[in-house]
Amino acid sequence: MNSETVRPPRRLRSAHSSLAAHGEPLVWLTGGALALAIAMISGLLAFIAFRGAATFWPVPLVELECADGRRALGEVSGRETVAAVDGRPAVSRTLLNTATFEITGNHYEWFDDSRIVGTVRPEWATAVERLEGGRFHGVPVRLVHGEQTVAEGPERAWREFERIQPGVRRRVREIVRIDRHDRGILQRQLRSARLAVVQGDLRSGRDSTAYEAAVREEQAVAARVQERSALLDADTARLREENAGWGLEFEAAGGEKRVLPLEQIVRAWQPNRLSTTGKLGVYLARWWEFLCDDPREANSAGGVFPAIWGTVAMTLIMALLVAPFGILAALYLREYASSGPVTTAVRIAINNLAGVPSIVYGAFGLGFFCYVVGAGIDEVFFRPALVADNQPTFGTGGLLWASLTLALLTLPVVIVATEEALSAVPNSMREGSYACGAGKWQTIRRIVLPRALPGIMTGLILAMARGAGEVAPLMLVGVKKLALDLPIDGTFPFVHPEREFMHLAYLIYDVGFQSPNSQAAQPMVFTITFLLVTIIALLNVAAIWLRSRLKRRYVMQQF
């Protein structure tokens, strides 16, 4: 030490005073952003799940008595408070699902709470789901068969109703099956015979033997169909006869009496009498109908089976179409193409494709797949239908074209994900393979692809999730409000990729915004949304499970 005073070491700012050094503010910022995102997503999902799951639970029927003596029976489906306006005090009011459209002209009605003088839950109050006309609420008074009364009084009438109803319902279903299925087969036989005649005419002219044979065949088929059709008529007439006359008379809340034909009743339950198990039974039965039946009443009631079918089929076909396309394109870009301005331009173009509005893809699908490719197919293979019925087969929207359109829409996602997965494969593996004397394709097939497969699967999962929730392009290329003929059925050639189909996401739009009875359809919207989210989640879980299996096999950390 020399004589100079030793300078004290320079004191840095105290760590306590520096937020950037000590406070870790970014943990809170980043964590907060994540928490907010999770809260929003889980909130939305929980809301959808709760509303969707609650739709089919039997809610008690309450009878409100108003000050002016009016009575109404129904489910409470909402409450609200109208704020005080212009000196009028705030009013709270109750929305009741009165289900008395044919009596009052309304399905729903608001009641001011101040005017309600009494609320009861009538023991025998019954909710009835009908084939047409929506719900009906009332108390059963007697069961009739034609002019005669079979059972009188709520208890006896209900007991008899429960005994007779399953048979009636079975016969109704049988009639529907005959009309839709058996008659459908006959119609198709007739049509194909008729088209064979047109085909004979087109191909060999009216004087040819082929044409004459076809005409004779058509006559034979027509005779056969007529014969069979008469039998079916007899069957349905018998079933209708058996169902006819049965009716259950209800007394609505206002005292008005109404006989509901049994064949019109899909289901009836008495929520005020039901135990929890009984309610659960009704709940599950309604879910079952929702999942496995065709829709009724402009899709606002009944089931959504064709839409589930269409959604799943379209998503899977899309995945099958987009996977080879996208993977091959990405393989070329990453493994074969030499890097240069052209490759870069192609990459940028692909990324930009992901930002093109989906309706543009829909328009392209309609214009190219349906009107060019499909019309070409029709010209060559389905000319008779075009000439005779002026009816396109492939030249209009259908499952195949919708899947192709969505495959195109999701192609960028798959290409980008696959490219990323390929570039994550260490080069040392490729070199090791080449050093063993493997060729390029052998290296790709045996080393690169297996190793990249989990990453490629991630791309497919993303593509499926995006495609399954897409609505706009589908409206143009084959999704319909109602299409009960499934694209796979028992009639030759069993697979009908040209058929129009239903889709859950479109159904949400249709039921939610196009329904004449939007109040009643609202719970259905939640249920369909819930179902769609569940289906997408299930598809994703399946794909993720597959991916984790592949990952365990091919990619593990080294050391």
């Binding site: 090791g432 050093a435 063993c436 593990m556």
Partner: protein, 297 residues
């Protein structure tokens, strides 16, 4: 390079006289870009070569990485390539099985001959060529498949599907790479579950499965811990006499322990090449001595 400011003439210490009028300081001369002849000991030239590298030059774009390398690689002997980082050892090794073909903008002149066949002959099928060699890399690179499939990979891509043949080759190769006892009960488990040292020995088994004429080892122990390194070195000792091995290493002890011949390279040029014992005890050039004793590099 600062270590070589001494400009006294190089004394002849080896079994042969140095080339006439050697530059006073070869490494400086090399750095200055002058042509410097390599000192190749007579005993190297007396061996039967399996691989002959003949005036081989290589450019990455405009940068020359190898300068007129001429060296024979003796048959069934272990030859080590040593030299400071970036001196072209790995480039030379990767040129032998033409892995440099995969790199863009590589240009070469000169030739190499494997058992007399020209490697850079345009008519040479590079796939066939690589099947005659085995290569092991710095980092273990087992393929994402089972241990068994890793070993028989070269045969599989050659179309060999006979179970008996594959089983036999698998066992022989794994025994040859001293891995058999450790993995014989889990041949069909993923190779990625092995430890680093095991993975590297698996890569050696894979490289010797097709009975290569030359085995190329590119710093095979640089990513391994000392115990695994010891095992791989023991293995190289065992391969001695059965395979022609060309090994790149940074580890002088490893070179002296495992190899029969050692070549010292510097900035893309071969400086001295001779029997390992001589290179490490009485090299011709002082520069070589300085490098192998750790005074430089």
């Amino acid at each position: 390079m600062q270590a070589f400011t001494d400009s006294s003439p190089v004394a002849s210490q080896g079994g042969r006289t140095p080339a006439a009028d050697p530059p006073a300081d070869r490494l400086l001369a090399v750095a200055a870009g002058r042509e410097v002849p390599a000192e190749v000991h007579d005993r190297v030239l007396a061996e039967t070569p399996v691989l002959e590298i003949d005036r081989f030059n290589l450019w990455y774009g405009g940068k020359q990485a190898l300068h007129s390398i001429t060296m024979p690689v003796p048959h069934n002997k272990v030859t080590a390539l040593v030299g400071p980082s970036g001196c072209g050892k790995s480039t030379l090794l990767r040129s032998v099985n033409r892995l440099n073909d995969l790199v863009q903008n590589v240009r070469i002149t000169g030739d190499m001959r494997l058992s007399g066949d020209s490697i850079y002959d345009p008519r040479m099928d590079v796939i066939e060529l690589r099947k005659r060699m085995g290569m092991v890399f710095q980092k273990p690179n087992p393929f994402p498949m089972s241990i068994y499939e890793n070993v028989v990979y070269a045969l599989r891509i050659d179309g060999e599907n006979s179970r008996a043949v594959l089983d036999e080759v698998c066992e022989l190769s794994l025994r040859g790479s001293a891995l058999w006892d450790e993995v014989k009960d889990r041949l069909h488990d993923s190779a990625l579950g092995l430890s680093g040292g095991q993975q590297q020995r698996l890569c050696i088994a894979r490289a010797i499965a097709a009975e290569p004429e030359v085995l190329l080892l590119d710093e095979p122990c640089s990513a391994l811990d000392p115990i695994a390194t010891g095992k791989v070195e023991d293995l190289i000792q065992e391969l001695r006499g059965r395979y022609s091995v060309l090994i790149v290493t940074h580890n002088m002890q490893q070179a002296s322990r495992t190899s029969d011949y050692t070549a010292f390279m510097y900035l893309g040029r071969l400086i001295e090449y001779g029997p390992t014992t001589e290179i490490f005890t009485k090299p011709i050039l002082r520069e070589t001595e300085a490098y192998v004793t750790g005074r430089f590099g």
